[in-house]
């Protein structure tokens, strides 16, 4: 009989198994959950508010898109955005999806974020989403496709949630190691876990049946050249937006390596100048501020 006092080193297979299990019950971010509940419980929910509140939570956005595109509704026409889903399935259906997903799954709460704070993670995700959408506008991506850029940016770091939650102490080590060695966090993750947040992101995207472009953004946002050619523009934009968010130090998802040697290459790939990128600062910060204000709860009795 095995001695329970002797700690058995965890294998990569076992880690992957635990990650797979975790993805099933991944929590929503507590930063947004109260507002989701408030908006969804209001009898006069405005579609704009519903769309907005869901799109401010990376986990919820992914899960709602997953449910909409799942065999549950088996829509002949895939809904690639929340906007489309709300028109196709109706406000009530999407409201129910958001409410059930968010309330049932938010129980993980603050415990899910031990190595970095949930608020900082949320802010980083929003910053990358907003920047990716703004870059898409500069690159003259058609207006109706820009929401997907936002979603890709918002979700790009989802893979960190299971790693951070399941292996909190090791994750702190990974962050320290990345800082000490001056390498990217994903490289440190790889050394410690033999798996990184990009791979976990891909696992999530596959499990949630997210679109191929979004899947590529989750998997390849640190190496856009490895993504499928047809998705490369979006992946490169998300990668650049990520570098930019780290440079601005808006929020944090644990990567403390702002001087990205890839930056020049990414600028070339996207086809934008550093100064044009810097000009986005005000827009990005004001969008985040607006999101923050939006998420503040309406005081009771002041509907």
């Amino acid at each position: 009989m095995a001695n329970p006092m002797i700690e058995v080193p965890i294998t990569r297979e076992l880690r992957l198994k635990r990650i797979q299990d975790y993805i099933f019950r991944m929590p929503s971010l507590s930063t947004t959950v109260s507002k989701v509940v408030e908006i969804c419980n209001s009898p006069a929910t405005s579609p704009n508010d519903l769309n907005r509140v869901i799109s401010l939570d990376p986990v919820l956005t992914g899960r709602v898109l997953k449910l909409i595109n799942s065999a549950y509704y088996s829509l002949v026409n895939r809904a690639t955005s929340l906007t489309r889903a709300i028109v196709m399935l109706g406000l009530n259906t999407v409201k129910n999806l958001a409410l059930s997903t968010s309330v049932l799954e938010s129980l993980g709460g603050e415990e899910s974020f031990q190595a970095f704070s949930m608020d900082n993670f949320w802010m980083h995700s929003i910053c990358v989403g907003v920047t990716a959408k703004s870059l898409a506008a500069i690159k003259r991506v058609p207006i109706t496709d820009r929401e997907e850029y936002f979603v890709a940016g918002l979700l790009h770091d989802l893979g960190k949630i299971p790693l951070n939650n399941l292996f909190p102490e090791e994750y702190v080590h990974a962050m320290e190691w990345a800082e000490l060695q001056h390498v990217h966090l994903y490289q440190a993750e790889n050394s410690i876990f033999e798996v990184d947040h990009c791979m976990v992101g891909e696992m999530i995207a596959e499990k949630w049946v997210l679109s191929e472009t979004i899947t590529d953004s989750l998997f390849h946002h640190h190496k856009p050249v490895e993504s499928r050619e047809e998705n490369r523009q979006m992946v490169a934009i998300v990668a650049l937006a990520n570098t930019y968010a780290n440079f601005l130090e808006v929020g944090s998802s644990g990567d403390r390596f702002p001087e990205d040697p890839q930056a020049t290459h990414l600028l070339e790939q996207v086809g934008i100048s550093w100064s044009a990128l810097l000009d986005l600062r005000e827009t990005v910060l004001s969008e985040i501020e607006k999101a923050r204000i939006f998420l503040q709860l309406t005081p009771k009795g002041v509907a």
């Binding site: 405005s46 579609p47 704009n48 508010d49 769309n51 907005r52 449910l67 065999a71 549950y72 509704y73 088996s74 829509l75 002949v76 026409n77 955005s81 906007t83 489309r84 709300i86 028109v87 196709m88 399935l89 109706g90 406000l91 009530n92 259906t93 129910n96 999806l97 059930s100 207006i143 109706t144 820009r146 929401e147």
Partner: protein
């Protein structure tokens, strides 16, 4: 295919002296495939009680009843007749009940069979002698056997709701109620603080695409049963978002679809026979309808396709 209307009213049964001609029972349609002796029922509104009685007298003597009930959705006016559907109490009866279900809502069995609990009804569902199978439906196409092809389409109603299109021997029978035109529900007023350009554009595109898909779904129908609870004026003044269409929209859709016959359906419960006659005059006169035969569905009406 033989079609018979057993309930044509929307929202709530409204029997009485003012609804004798068009009928006061809520939605129930019988669809018979004579050659294969197959019976399909669409919706279990209060009209299904009379249909059940008819089946007891005419079908049961020929052997145990086997039928499929396709529910468009589970709003009460579409399921309330189920506890009074006598064949479900007869041993040997086999029922398959199909319908759409929203995520996290109760199962179809709970929504429909759940009416049979002591608090609502003196018989519990476990006491029913028939064999009942509940099947969740989505937007898809199915081969029902006997040469019957069914296509389903999500409609625009506050609850997930399906339209049914049956194709059999080159004939098409199609239902599209409870529904209203898909709309861009997002703010389109650029001066409104919540206005978002991308959302507004995509909402427009999505609504247009879904309305086109409903047109395709109804295309070439030999009989189209379409939601026409309101007049356009009523719809625009206060009923947008209630999940029902205007007669004008139903007629335009039928014309677009090239439907041979259009049954205006799901009548407003407040509408009297006299008012229905006035609407018939207004919407169904020859010069108004072109090639499509348009009429307001009446309880007891039979149509052969």
């Amino acid at each position: 295919m033989k079609v018979k209307f057993w309930g044509v009213r929307g929202s709530i049964p409204c029997p009485g002296p003012y609804t004798i001609k068009y009928g006061g029972n809520t939605a129930c349609i019988e669809l018979r495939f004579v050659e294969s002796n197959r019976l399909i029922i669409i919706d279990a509104g209060s009209g299904i009680r009379e249909l059940g009685n008819y089946m007891m007298a005419n079908d049961l003597p020929g052997g145990p009843i086997k039928t499929e009930i396709f529910l468009t959705h589970t709003h009460w006016d579409h399921i309330m007749g189920f506890p009074f559907f006598t064949p479900s109490y007869v041993p040997g009866t086999k029922l398959k009940i199909y319908g759409p279900v929203s995520y996290e809502d109760n199962s179809l069995e709970d929504s429909v069979g759940g009416q049979l609990t002591y608090r609502y009804f003196p018989v519990r569902r476990t006491e029913l002698a028939s064999e009942i199978e509940y099947i969740n439906l989505k937007e898809d196409q199915f081969d029902l056997g006997d040469g019957i092809i069914l296509t389903t389409k999500y409609l625009n109603h506050p609850l997930l709701c399906l339209g049914y299109r049956f194709e059999y021997r080159d004939k098409v029978f199609c239902t599209a109620y409870d529904t209203e035109p898909f709309q861009n529900v997002f703010c389109t007023d650029i001066d409104d603080p919540s206005y978002n350009e991308a959302m507004s554009h995509e909402g427009d595109q999505a609504a247009r695409a879904e309305n086109q898909r409903v047109e395709k779904f109804t295309a070439g129908a030999d009989l189209l049963i379409y939601d026409a609870q309101y007049t356009q004026e009523e719809y625009e003044s206060s009923k947008i978002g209630w999940g029902h269409s205007s007669c004008e929209y139903a007629i335009a859709t039928a014309k677009q679809a090239g439907a041979k016959r259009l049954a205006l359906f799901h009548h407003e419960p407040l509408r009297t026979d006299d008012q229905m006659d006035e609407l018939t005059e207004k919407y169904c006169s020859r010069d108004h309808i072109g090639d499509t035969d348009i009429f307001f569905a009446r309880e007891g009406m039979e149509i052969e396709l």
